[in-house]
Amino acid sequence: MNAVDLLFYFFATLAVGGGVLMVFSRHPVSAALFMIISLVSVAALFVLLEAFFLAILQVLVYAGAVMVLFLFIIMLLDVGPEGGKVSRLKLITGFAGCVSVGILIILLLQLFGTGIGDNSSWPSIEMSPYVNGESLLFSTSIKNFGYGLFTKYMLPLQVAGFLLLGAMVGVIVLSKKSLPTEER
């Protein structure tokens, strides 16, 4: 067992354990902090997969921006730990949950049964070209990301930009105070 294996098991345990603790923690603030542990561990796993740009992006966007937004909203709303109110699980909810868990179990059986990715190894990355025929080549450099985004994925990039603009406008409209003439 070499160092990479140890790192994988360490960060995998941290990611899944942080997720489990997040789901079962009573207080929302501690849940958000466990979630940050889980997200940073996933970033470390991206480093192990040699996707360095995505690891940086994971730390900046998720652990940096999204979770700070979550903590901000938790503290703004002053949400305490959950009380002892019993949740009534409706029949349709239970049915949908059972079906979804069944589909997940089928997925797990497929994962073990067919041995997908079982005997495939990690091919080495060559640095030179951007494209091989039609497909973009995986690379550790950000140049290849930029090339892919501005050639093959030009339209999705612009749609993502419009999505961000629409979300910004929507959030401003939602959080605006309603005019006093509407209330009277």
Partner: protein, 102 residues
């Protein structure tokens, strides 16, 4: 000789997705439901990056990029909706959101 295969990463991504799904299913606090959704998206991201690495194809990594964009957008809009709901109902629990019933 025990080494990490791509299947290890796929099992990890399955575990992350399952934990997030259980969170969506059993939690009543809508903030935690949103966080569990993020965890599910992270599990999918791990699977996409590992497939992208094994097949030496950048498309999976670019999809992860777009998934991150959409997830950040979704969180911003979801939290704004949650604040608007809290202003009206003084609660962030999912059983208090049955607006059509009463």
């Amino acid at each position: 000789m025990e080494t990490i295969t791509p299947q290890h990463f796929l099992i990890l991504s399955f575990l992350l997705f399952t934990v997030g799904f259980l969170g969506v299913l059993i939690r009543r606090n809508l903030l935690l439901v949103l966080m569990s959704l993020e965890l599910m998206l992270n599990g999918v991201n791990v699977a996409l990056v590992s497939f992208s690495r094994t097949s030496l194809n950048l498309d999976g990594s670019l999809f992860v990029f777009f998934i991150m964009t959409v997830a950040a957008t979704e969180v911003a809009v979801g939290l704004a909706l949650l604040v608007a709901l809290y202003k009206r109902r003084r609660s962030v629990f999912s059983e208090d959101t049955a607006l059509l019933k009463n």
